[in-house]
């Protein structure tokens, strides 16, 4: 396609289709509606299905059904819609359903400022359903990254049989940027491992807790079982505490054991820096400018921007924190990912949040001023 002027929402749709997504269901909500539109415009022409459901609960319900029938599914909403997805997200976790969920964040709570950006759903996305088991959360900073991480999210959802969130922001979703998607290098496509045709199918079978069970489509070569209830490796109701715990350990281990490998981060370290800025999403672009300006003033500053928010890229954070005296965490919320940073930072390190949710971007100047980099 060459050089294009694209909004982040279109880039997400294009990344999904590039990853062979063939089923989409969604419900209109600003600022994610144009993902629904782009999928409706593109999927049916290539033999896929894109539908507008009656509400968010039906959107994700359609997707879970289609995913278990073998489709590669995407749904997209904004924060209020994630509230309505919540129970079904738990179902996708317990049923080990591969699916990609986009949250184009808008300022909240509740209806909030529907047409304005925010990053208020960071911890919400991680803890969005009962049970507290892990999900994967990726956060792009640019339109190009929205495309790349959308594709990547499909690979991860297929590989780990887990819902993967693409956590973006109105400020990326509805901002157009000059971008050449063809110039973005993408890894090889990953499809879920399917159970051997001639073997008895056990829908949730694993040997090691972190192993991902082979999949068989509803309507495919085996008789498949799927249940919202606590079950064993065969998909039958389980009440034996030992079996119950074994399954829970498995849901946690398959994501957590891969944390280092899943850690997508961008490092811009400066030798001898005593300050580190940790950021993600659109705000990491303000951080980039702040770092540039601070260095121009002769200050020594490092930056770590995160594309993977969950599982927390612990090793990357710990090694970045090593040796600094101050960490600045700018966020378009009242302080959410800073909690993950504080957990890992030694007590002697000062951790400063630069926070606002007044619907405007955090500016480089605000990071410099409030972070004490004058």
């Amino acid at each position: 396609m060459g050089l294009e002027f694209l909004e982040g929402n279109e880039a997400i749709a294009r990344g999904a289709i590039r990853a062979n997504c063939n089923f989409f269901a969604g419900y209109p909500i600003t600022p994610s509606s144009s993902i629904l539109q782009h999928m409706l415009d593109r999927l049916p022409a290539s033999g896929g299905i894109a539908v507008q459901a009656e509400d968010e609960i039906a959107s994700i319900g359609f997707c879970i059904g289609a995913a278990m029938a073998g489709s590669k599914v995407l749904t997209a909403t904004s924060g209020p819609g994630i509230s309505l997805y919540s129970e079904n997200i738990g179902l996708a976790i317990i049923g080990e359903t591969p699916m990609v969920i986009v949250n184009v964040q808008r300022q909240g709570p509740a209806t909030g400022s529907a047409t304005k950006g925010a990053e208020g759903d960071i911890q919400f996305t991680r803890w969005c359903t009962s049970g507290g088991l892990p999900v994967i959360v990726l956060s792009p900073a640019t339109v190009g990254e929205a495309y790349e991480l959308s594709y990547h999210a499909f690979n991860l959802s297929e590989r780990f049989r887990v819902p993967v969130f693409l956590l973006t922001n109105k400020e990326i979703g509805l901002t157009r940027e000059s971008v050449d998607l063809d110039a973005i290098e993408l890894p090889a496509l990953i499809e879920r491992t399917r159970a051997a045709v001639d073997e008895a199918y056990r829908p949730h079978y694993f040997d090691e807790p972190s192993a991902v069970p082979a999949f068989s489509d509803f309507g495919g070569e085996h008789i498949a079982r799927f249940t919202t209830s606590t079950h064993d490796k065969d998909g039958f109701l389980a009440t034996n505490p030992q079996v119950v715990q074994e399954m829970i350990d498995h849901y946690a281990a398959k994501v957590d054991a891969a944390a280092d490998e899943l850690a997508l981060v961008k490092r811009d370290f400066q030798e001898g820096a005593d300050t580190l800025i940790i950021s993600y999403g659109i705000t990491s672009r303000s951080a980039t400018v702040a770092v540039r300006e601070a260095r121009a003033k002769g200050l020594k500053v490092s930056a770590l921007s995160l594309q993977t928010l969950y599982p927390v890229p612990r090793s990357a954070l710990i090694s970045a924190i090593e040796g600094v005296q101050k960490i600045i965490v700018p966020e378009m919320n009242m302080g959410q990912y800073i909690l993950e940073v504080e957990r890992l930072a030694p007590a002697s390190v000062e951790v400063i949040g630069v926070n606002k949710m007044d619907t405007t971007l955090i500016s480089p100047d605000e990071i410099l001023e409030r972070g004490g980099l004058q």
Binding site: M1, G2, L3, E4, F5, F23, D41, P44, A45, I49, A53, E54, D55, I57, A58, I60, G61, F62, C63, I64, G65, A66, A67, M68, A69, G70, E87, L91, T115, E171, L174, T175, R176, E177, S178, D217, F218, G219, G220, E221, H222, I223, A224, R225, F226, T227, T228, G235, F236, L237, I282, R285, S286, T288, V289, T360, L361, S363, P364, D365
Partner: protein, 445 residues
């Protein structure tokens, strides 16, 4: 090789789990009878359930078993059916599920997705302690209506039919032909639903001293009919979906390519704000300008601000152009500000007041501008656009701004319009561009 299956039930996990005398037992066996009659490949059948006693049933069949959230079984069934139209998808749900999932019942009926819904209707929540449901008859005694139900009972068939269900049947678990009627439903290409009344022996039966024959009596008292209540086939959703998309004209016109072939005169990030009104095509003019910048080898971003009622009020667009990657996408100190209407001015007044001396403000001449340190260029934008096309005001203004600022060659804007726009609109905008540029060249002379 394909022996006739005598049952689709399995005893692999033991006998059916229902209370003695529970109607669900009869219903599950009637469904089995229907499957035996139809003899489908079990690998092509999915039984979908949700929460409620009947939700225990799916796993006792040799077919695929899908047990989902309370009230949501219809949504999974629709996803399965849309993804794999060759599947026979049968939903077993209770009256409770029809309450919490009422919206899905209405919408599957309205869309006519080819699944079969069997409601095991026993007028209360058997799984959670006998609370009243949407189908509990008025005066019915339940744990949550101890003085008698004062709510009206929902007529599931009439509700579904009103929403568009082409096939609906009401009966009881005691009907001798229930298996056949379920088979009839499964044969329907579209959505088919059966409202099957039965006994909850744990709660509803003892509290209401209900007897087997009373079910028909209850129907009469409530003024409800039994039997086949709708049989008006119409096209199934998934089939229609595939048909209309197969017929649809192939993909939209390919997106024209932008090639960075012109030079520019920009050495830093430049912020441009264009403020106008809804309906003035401000956003599309700005997009053409930004892409003109891309033709001139610049990076570009565009952000739009407008009320959700898109046909009224302001339309303010921010464009950033830069020779390098654009990081921060807000414009704190605009370099160029273009105001074409009163609504645009109203929305931007505070920002205009704060413009500094290095900024230039291009404004429609009739506007009453606030005090500002910016260089002001007043232009007859409305009058000029009016001569060409009212909707070209954004291009007129940006043409003037480009002529004055010399950020990049006019040819790049020209090429952006002629490459990216359809011919008829493009020609209007090329005229507008020329008029805008000429107007300011004259001003400057």
């Amino acid at each position: 090789m394909n022996a006739v299956a005598e049952t689709f039930l399995t005893d692999e996990i033991g006998p059916l789990p229902f209370c003695p005398g529970c109607g669900h037992d009869r219903l599950v066996k009637a469904l089995d009878k229907a499957l035996v009659e139809l003899q489908p490949d079990p690998k092509k059948v999915v039984i979908v359930t949700d929460i409620g006693c009947i939700g225990l049933a799916d796993r006792y069949f040799v077919t695929h078993a899908f047990h989902g959230l309370h009230g949501r079984s219809i949504t999974y069934a629709c996803g399965l059916k849309l993804a794999r139209p060759e599947l026979t998808v049968i939903v077993l749900k209770g009256d409770g599920g029809c309450g919490i999932g009422g919206a899905h019942l209405l919408n599957v009926a309205r869309r006519n997705i080819g699944i079969t819904l069997i409601v095991a209707n026993n007028f209360n929540y058997g799984m959670t302690g006998g609370q009243h449901s949407v189908t509990t008859p008025t005066d019915g005694l339940t744990t949550t209506t101890p003085l008698g139900n004062i709510e009206g009972a929902m007529d599931l068939c009439a509700t579904s039919i009103a929403a568009g269900a082409p096939w609906a049947y009401r009966g009881t678990g005691f009907d001798r032909d229930l298996g056949e009627r379920i088979a009839d439903a499964i044969r329907q290409p579209g959505f088919a639903m059966l409202d099957i009344w039965d006994m909850c022996t744990a709660y509803y039966l003892p509290r209401n001293q209900l007897k087997k024959k009373d079910l028909t009596g209850m129907m009469e008292r409530l003024g409800l009919q039994a039997g086949l209540l709708a049989d008006k086939p119409r096209p199934e959703y998934g089939e229609q979906y595939r048909q209309i998309h197969a017929q649809a004209t192939q993909a939209a016109r390919p997106r024209p390519e932008i090639s960075a072939k012109y030079d520019h005169a920009i050495d830093r990030q430049i912020g441009i704000v264009v403020a106008g009104s809804a309906g003035q095509k401000i956003r599309s003019a700005a997009a053409l300008f930004a892409q003109a910048g891309m033709f001139a080898n610049l990076e570009a971003t565009q952000k739009d601000d407008y009320p959700i009622t898109v046909m009224t009020g302001h339309s303010v667009t921010e464009i950033i152009l830069s020779p390098e990657r654009i990081d921060y996408t807000a414009i704190d100190s605009p370099d160029y500000f273009v105001v074409v209407s009163g609504e645009g001015l109203q929305k931007s007044r505070a920002r205009i007041e704060k413009l500094d001396t290095s900024a230039t403000l291009y404004a429609e001449e009739s506007l009453d501008l606030p005090e500002t340190n910016a260089r002001i260029v007043r232009l007859p934008l409305v009058a000029t656009a009016k001569k060409i096309n009212r909707l070209s005001i954004g291009v007129v203004a940006l043409g003037a701004m480009l002529a004055d600022s010399g950020l990049f060659p006019m040819d790049a804007f020209n090429e952006s319009i002629s490459t990216l726009q359809r011919k008829a609109i493009g020609e209007v905008n090329l005229q507008a561009l020329e008029a805008g540029a000429a107007m300011l060249r004259q001003e400057c002379v």
